[in-house]
Symmetry: C2
Subunit: 359 residues, 2 copies
Amino acid sequence: MLKPGDWIGILGGGQLARMMVLAAAPLGLKCHIYAPKGDNPAFDVAADFTEAAYDDEAALATFAASVSVVTYEFENIPARTAEILAARVPVFPAPEALQKTQDRWVEKSFIRDLGLSVPEFRAVSSLADLETAVDALGRPSVLKTRRFGYDGKGQAMIGPETDLAEAWARVGEAPSILEGFVPFEKEVSVVAARTATGAFVAYDVCENQHKHHILDKTLLPAQISAETAARAKEAARAIGDALSYIGVFAVEFFIVGAGSNERLLVNEIAPRVHNSGHWTLGGAETSQFEQHIRAVAGWPLGSVRRLGQIEMTNLIGDDVDHWRDLVATPGLYVSLYGKAEARPGRKMGHVTRVIRPDA
Amino acid sequence: MLKPGDWIGILGGGQLARMMVLAAAPLGLKCHIYAPKGDNPAFDVAADFTEAAYDDEAALATFAASVSVVTYEFENIPARTAEILAARVPVFPAPEALQKTQDRWVEKSFIRDLGLSVPEFRAVSSLADLETAVDALGRPSVLKTRRFGYDGKGQAMIGPETDLAEAWARVGEAPSILEGFVPFEKEVSVVAARTATGAFVAYDVCENQHKHHILDKTLLPAQISAETAARAKEAARAIGDALSYIGVFAVEFFIVGAGSNERLLVNEIAPRVHNSGHWTLGGAETSQFEQHIRAVAGWPLGSVRRLGQIEMTNLIGDDVDHWRDLVATPGLYVSLYGKAEARPGRKMGHVTRVIRPDA
């Protein structure tokens, strides 16, 4: 159990790390950020930072020696980096939990083996595999690389007319999976936290709307049945327990069918604080960032109480140019990430509107 | 008007500066702290800091050149420091506003001249003055140094048996005032914010309970009439306007009488974010720290909406040793200041309980 004044190491210097640092400070915990050269807005608020490559073994060892525990803001930690750190200091969530989510085939197999529903999928290692898989799952379907895909990168839609060789080229001929098309009604997620002693909390299920494969809005409460919402939280708990997970994670689901036919399919697990949990800053009694810090520090988890109806909107690229209007909107919770350049598609901030029950 | 990415300079490296930095970050504003060598917990979260004396003219000039505006966490800025900075960069609140509050005699005269009630007071520059003043105001009364007193330091109670020469020695024979005893029912304060364009907001009046001259608890709503509460806010507005004040300030009042005889006496003005506004972190839609940053940045002020019944408790000295229980209390907002050593009487953190209207 960490005590106030202790140090937490965080791999990655982006907005997720930054919001973790801002949550750790009121708990009296200090953060040391480790990130390669680049635009690292988390450096601005961290008590210490190291700018070095993830394969710089000497820098990693020095970093590990300076902190009581290490966590990270992104799941694609190189295995060797995790190994060097884990030999010296506790790393939460454990690298073994990450391995289950770094490869889509491993992840979907793991989820299916827990008895949870996932979209149909096939491993694809060659153009011939892809042809066989498309014969089995039909069109439309989606080809996704097994590793390192996010926000729609490393994906190819297989439509009625898609040339399979072109699709295979589009994912770089990398080991992939083909996923059957899911005619979903909506996308929802559960953001949850789990501690080393198995304590578990889940925020209310949220509904996510995407634009160009990037999260645009998160809305709560999700327009799903109470039964479906309870099943989604149970699924998150089963996944957290099976991974012996420590920290915050998100489980994304597709909702198919409606009314009494409403069903959940697990889309993916994000083993970190998650964009669909950003509403908890200002919208819940404890933010997901504070929960994550509490979990990795070995502290009790906080209240997940939601403070009203929620609408969280991401500020992507030049959306952030509207900051004057946003900061002038009464009661709007504004969070800007301090990034130097507003490139198209880049997450620059978010805003959360909380409609309180007594309003 | 500052824009995201711009720099705010803050004089002072304690908890107030630290909480300002944590409020500035989500607005995309970076902070540069200037403070002398010492325990400066604000350094841990600031994007930059300078450790130098307040009379180091070269360091002050370099600091001024690095920021778009300067503010401070404490009111006793040496005049020469303020002058050096103000010649180079806007300083908010303006040093002229500070001058009115740095000397108790000047402050009380200023407040009285606005038509507001203050306790009776006399200037005391010698033991003979003190004897004359005690004859006029009677016993009990309180001798207070004109400058640099806080949390009960630089004060001497004049009781029925007090030897006046001893009392005069106790305040170091420094220029002082004698204040008539006020048989107050309670102490309340108004925390307010004002912008360069005269926009003004005030949080709800709060009731303050002290222990050993240090704030112990802040409670809202204050148990006073709606009329008295409205008059307290009007008084704060009149003071802010008269000072052309920019930023957050607090006005402390004594409540005397009860029922239809309830009256307000202004005790003092604190030209900075104030301990009796700490409840706004977690207890209001916008914290006092964010309001202050908004005001000095030239941004619109935020909502002062209160989110429930409030009980804020300071953690003084070894109170902070109970952190394990505090962080385990569901829904309690915990703020630890990251100070190295828990000396007796030192403010180490605070906790806020918010009882929401729908609970």
